[in-house]
Symmetry: C2
């Protein structure tokens, strides 16, 4: 079974990844200290508590607080040492023969302020700069290995979506259906935790929401929200019972061996109104258009504008990706180890697509008080445009009930 793959990243991959970061650092940054769990996994194949020091040239050094033996088993890097305290980092770097960095890169987009203050003291002679944008650019373009990992996650996601018809039932609370579906995903090897980089961004598996509940806006940067179970976790499934003849939005992330596939379909017990069915078909049309337009070199901000224009032409301009002030200004986002990776198909973005980027495209129409229709697939950017990695049937799936 593929989910039993051990998830260890091959040495050649790690070398390639660190090499790209080093090229980005040339002449600007002397060394990068990678601390965030997901970045550490990306560059060292371990998420144990520790640090990876990446010098502008030469081999990196992996320093582990807890658990050292696991990190040694997980990471292909040859230089690994046990280190109990960040205070000893400069001495440890010197011991391994690295010159003291004059300019040190840290992940300042995620590192908490108090930790930043400590590192500033520890590296008192260095200028500290933000290395996050460079890291995110490297991570945006997936290797063949990573694409294969995301394909596996997408295949698991297809299995989850194939399970949905067994689980949905009239009168069942959203949260009960969500629990069954999530439990099934977990049995396939879903890692549970879905990572987001944005501070305060968070997702629990995904959303299963029926009728008007899917159209309730939330704190999440997403076109759909959901009631959730309380004012603290006010997104996703709530206690509302699933009803007949309304759109049931199933929007889930499968996270396998670290890699995410994002995927949404519309189900219905009974039959959806012609108006909602037509809106759903319009979103499939929009997706189809983008699949050929989203080629290497296309600017993400322009793709966003094309989608807005096309939604307008199709007659959904005022309900596309939200209503009024609550409209979300993006239609797609990169996925990989995190759910909010580069690139963003969003207003004003200048980044160009490149072969090997993987992104979730999610054209959706919001009908307040009635529900949400639309589609989401995780796609690979190739020479001819987008290839969908998630592949369950795309029309509204009507269930007898």
């Amino acid at each position: 079974m593929e989910q039993h793959y051990d998830g260890i990243v091959p040495a050649a991959e790690l070398n390639e990844r660190v090499g790209k970061l080093q090229r980005a650092m040339q002449g600007r940054v002397d060394g990068a200290l990678i601390i965030q769990k997901t970045d550490l996994f990306y560059f060292a194949s371990t998420a144990q508590q520790g640090w990876l020091y990446v010098p502008a040239t030469g081999a990196p050094l992996l320093l582990i607080f807890k658990d050292y033996q696991r990190a040694c088993a997980e990471s292909a890097w040859e230089q690994v040492a046990s280190l109990a305290s960040a205070k000893k980092l400069p001495a440890m770097l010197a011991e391994y023969g690295y010159p003291a960095p004059k300019v040190l890169g840290l992940e300042l987009d995620v590192l908490p302020a108090n930790l930043y203050f400590s590192y500033r003291q520890i590296f008192a002679d260095a200028e500290i700069v933000d290395i996050a944008h460079d890291i995110r650019l490297v991570r945006a373009v997936k290797s063949l290995y990573e694409v294969e990992m995301i394909r596996r996650a997408a295949r698991c996601s297809d299995q989850v979506f194939a399970k949905v018809p067994e689980i949905l039932a009239e009168g069942k609370p959203e949260v009960a259906a969500a629990g069954e579906l999530e439990g099934f995903a977990r049995s396939l090897g879903h890692q549970g935790i879905v990572r987001m980089r944005l501070w305060g961004g968070e997702l629990f598996y995904g959303h299963l929401m029926s009728g008007d509940a899917a159209a309730v806006p939330s704190y999440l940067a997403s076109p759909t929200g959901g009631a959730g179970v309380s004012p603290l976790v006010s997104q996703g499934a709530g206690f509302r019972p699933i009803d007949r003849n309304e759109p049931i939005l199933v929007d889930y992330v499968f996270a396998l061996n670290g890699y995410c596939a994002d995927h949404a379909r519309i189900f219905c017990i009974g039959r959806l109104s012609d108006e909602l069915l037509a809106a759903h078909e319009a979103m499939l049309d929009l997706q189809q258009q983008m699949k050929s337009a989203a080629r290497p070199g296309a600017r993400t901000g322009e793709l966003y504008e094309q989608m807005i224009t096309r939604a307008d032409e199709l007659g959904y301009g005022d309900r596309f990706m939200g209503v009024g002030e609550r409209r979300i200004r993006f239609t797609g986002h990169g996925v990989g180890l995190e759910l909010d990776e580069y690139p963003f198909i969003a207003k004003g973005q200048k980044m160009e697509l490149a072969t090997g980027m993987v992104l979730a495209l999610e054209p959706k129409v919001i009908f307040p008080g009635r529900g949400v229709v639309g589609i989401e697939n995780t796609h690979l950017v190739g020479e001819d445009g987008l290839e969908s990695l998630t592949s369950s049937p795309e029309s509204v799936i009507s269930l007898a009930g």
Copy 2:
């Protein structure tokens, strides 16, 4: 059904909480800007994207980016305004008649460095100080309302533990059993997300681990670890099948309406060896002793030392809370909206227990290669010591199979 309670925090409760923070700020901080989602919920009953400005005296101001209408419905505060950008905060505060803060408190333990830089620019004339310790001290002592919320979470947790015998089966992979148990918890209204304050700390529902897998150390600050499903999420349930005659550690958090109850029991299909059974009974003995020792006024660091001494006397000194360098230097932690709240029953801690604190006490013995035994309950600190809020049977639960 209690899980359908709407979770909105009463006005009197919010007033009391903000009043405590204001008393802590007196003469030291002119205003606190609460941004972190959990703190915002604590002080404003909403986790929508936004800010709560708490002046040293007077009424607070709730400013919401997304979603404004939900925040208005969730929060009892009367002054609520819509705000699109942090840059407009000083103008908005002036508009509502607040003097510009000379000393501004921010949650510097969790706020990312880049956001700290922005707020420093936005409030260029203010000195920015860390308000996190004050907030955590206020949050450490629970009100009667909060204790009732944690009691409800604990009752749900008891239901989850009563379900375990139906789910465990010889040969079933840990992760499949975990998925079923987690799906059941979700159907009772579990919020899914379990919050931790520590950067890089994370937990997905909890841990279900069989035999030696429970004794595998992980990146988590916990006496037990687990294989997990990959090197990225290398804690908790993995693909190992559950076996006979070994301890199955079920250590789960139930999070209801924001509030957590933490709870662990040992199950066994068949029969555990006398050596492990004796170690388990020793941990129950240790818990019993702490229940009367942990009274208001007791110093947390001294309670920790008492537990270490007692474990030593009972003959488990070298395996209590971990082995060798991997031993964890705490035996308990506060719980509430987050899993790592004050106080910590930990080496060197000087904090005194107070009536109304709620803490999880988790004496455990680690047998590398064999498994984990021990106990965890969530307790309320009262005049006579600890009252357990979680209440499933405490002995090793043997199942025929």
